[in-house]
Amino acid sequence: MTELKDLEITYDKPNWCPGCGDFGVWVSLKNAIVQLGLNPWEVVLVSGIGCSSKLPYWVKTYGFNGLHGRPMPVAEGIKLANHGLTVIVIGGDGDQYGEGGNHLLHAARRNIDLTVIVHNNQVYGLTTGQFSPTTDIGEKNKANPNPIMEAPVNPIEFALAAGATYVARGFAGDHKQETELITAGIKHKGFAMIDIMQPCVTFNHKNTFSWFYERVYTLEQEGHDIKDKIKAFQRAEEWPLRRPLSEGEKEKVATGIFYQEDRPTWEDVTPQLGSTPLVKHTIDNRDITLLLEELM
């Protein structure tokens, strides 16, 4: 039985800004690990660089804090080497939708059994508030006084189109749902992407907790069918907008599971990954005599 205290580290504590949405994700992730009864030593948290990517420092599981945008392929390598492990990727919207977008695309299509949790605060936190790929159109901030007129990435549509088999959006202001989404994502056999709206209280003065509270609704309430990909796209299309908001218009931000599907994983279609993980195979005394003789 894993308890919350087993996941606590004693020698350090999170240094996110007070009130940062990252705290919510941190708590929910630990809850999910406890609820799933995972052994902490069989969980690897792999992150990139950003405020959000510091999370592995503060959970007592294995952790690998790699490069900005590159945690995904590290996680893929870990999973292929030892597919018995639970491997979870942690990144920000810059990390996953900007620098690491190509890796996200390909991990999704391969359907490798990973869970990626994207802390989507719609800014670059660690580098002090620059626009990110998900910054709302028309936004201005201290770093960028001119409004951004680029349409944002729609992470849900991106993941759906790429072939992710579990696609969800959470909100750091709703721990209960967040925990459920992460739990289900980890349980899901295949590539799970959870985009979590995570207000950055320091640099994003628009998409705040209260902004979200006024706009979120759950897909479950609306009776959304998670097997229906077309409907999932329709719901995803509601937000973010690719145009400035019209007069009197108010966004609707759907949360919950958009889509889930059963499809063979990358591990399933890699015959070498049977019941024994690669790391457990003996490598001593591989006999290459035949290979040499074939060259005669």
Binding site: Y11, W41, F64, N65, R70, V74, G77
Partner: protein
Amino acid sequence: MTDIQWLIGGEAGYGIMTTGVMMSKVFTRLGLSVFDYVEYPSLIRGGHNAYYVRASDEEIYSQRRGVDILVALNRETIDKHKSELSQNAAVIFDPTLVKVDPQELFSTILQVSVPLLELANQVGADRLMINTVSVGSSLALLYSDFSVLEKIMQDVFNKKGEEVVLLNINTSKAGFDFVQKNFQNKFFVHIEKQKQKNLLIGGAEAVALGAIRAGVGFAAMYPMTPINGIMTTLVAQASKYNFVIKEPEDEIAGINMAIGASYAGVRSLAATSGGGFSLMVESLGLAAQTEVPLVLVEGMRPGPATGMPTWTEQGDLRFVLHAAQGDFPRIIIAPGDLLECFTYTLHAFNLAEKYQLPVIILVDKYNMEGHSSIAIEEFKIQDSRFKIERGKILSDEEAGVQTDYKRYVFVEDGISPRSLPGQKGGIALSGSDEHDERGLYDEEAENRKKMVDKRFKKLEMCLPEIPGPQMYGLEDAPLTIVSFGSTKLPILEAMKWLAKENIFINFVQVAYLNPLIPDQFNSAIKNAKKTLVIENNHQGQFQGLLREHTGFVSDDHLRKYDGRPFYPEEIVEKVKAMLSS
């Protein structure tokens, strides 16, 4: 003595490559010493391909100038290569496909006009198989027994079924019979079968075999000349040896996957050329910073940018030495010949794990895509000598009893024991930020200094197992060549030629380029009289490196940067000029 160079030329897409290797195999089976070298543009159809196979009953190391048998599958081949023909060369061509004016070739040249297409058609083969007819024809000029080729066809095409085997035998036999009937004893060379038992191997294959033997568990490669052969060889063996090879979305993914797999406890390999390595650079530093073992092959070709994708150069030496921000240790090994491609790969995997750092195997198009015949015994000896050494990895039991495990604990030799994810008791963080012993970010001055020292300490610890430069030739010589990497091949060839003229020079090969140990180098050249540094780049990157680390100033240098390897002729000429001045 027999020493012939055979060349097949034709349009890309006509099986020039397979025919070349086939011919090399024929010579190898006949017990001759073989080296082959191919020139081709970066095109799939339409460009000119030229495959040189040199064979001798004396040991040879490289290609040379001059062509003794030219197989011209198209007219362009004659135009491009007729100036290379030796005095008594033979030219094999199909007069219906290639118009040759009887006057255009010297009268001493044997014109072997063979109806390649008609012969192919007669046995039910199509135009794409005229190359196979030409192999038979070439053999008949040199050797009177077809059975050697028949056996090769069986071995090579066995997997494709009886029908394919038969078609290939019949097609090559048609060419053989025609030439035997019409040109018997017309050619100036006749091969005697030798007893030597060699295998024929390409450098890329040799690296792949090394990786397999060394226990590679995971490999990631995004295709790029000249390392594709490593990929092909590994893919074919993955299920047999239970390892995984994946084609990632790009080189950044490739190296990071390899880092992830290695972190999880599996020996991992990434391979690329300069362009892909450019993308990998930041992650090379990640491996160093997280102290994750990594073996990386960098196959050089002429740059910058796309450069000349299918040609050769040694222009990335400085790049691999300095790539990535920051100051961190790495090991760089440049195999010269194709046996070294195997043995140094074996060593690279041990070094990476024992010292928990990145090891780069620096090769180039010339030694990756060329083939050599090498005694199978040589491989077997290296194979039997090799022991896997994994360094400090905690066993499950050792990890289990840890109460406060620190991944980067300061220890005297700088090498902290690794735990592997999944091990109870070994929980730790591996971080790309500067970190403390636990892996937690730490920017304190004292910790930073200690961590940098710790990482460099590992490089110091590996010194005892870094072999010094290899000396070829007699200690006492009027001239010493100093070089690295694949240039070893034409250098050895040139030395052999010079020795026949009673000029006995020697050669110092530096294979371990980082760490480069000054004492080792200095003692290797302490008796050198005149010195000559040979390298395949414009700036003299290697010469500069030697100067930097050892203070060595060479008397002269020979450099080349036209995308072609050195020819022994060029080296002989340079040496003679130096000796007579």
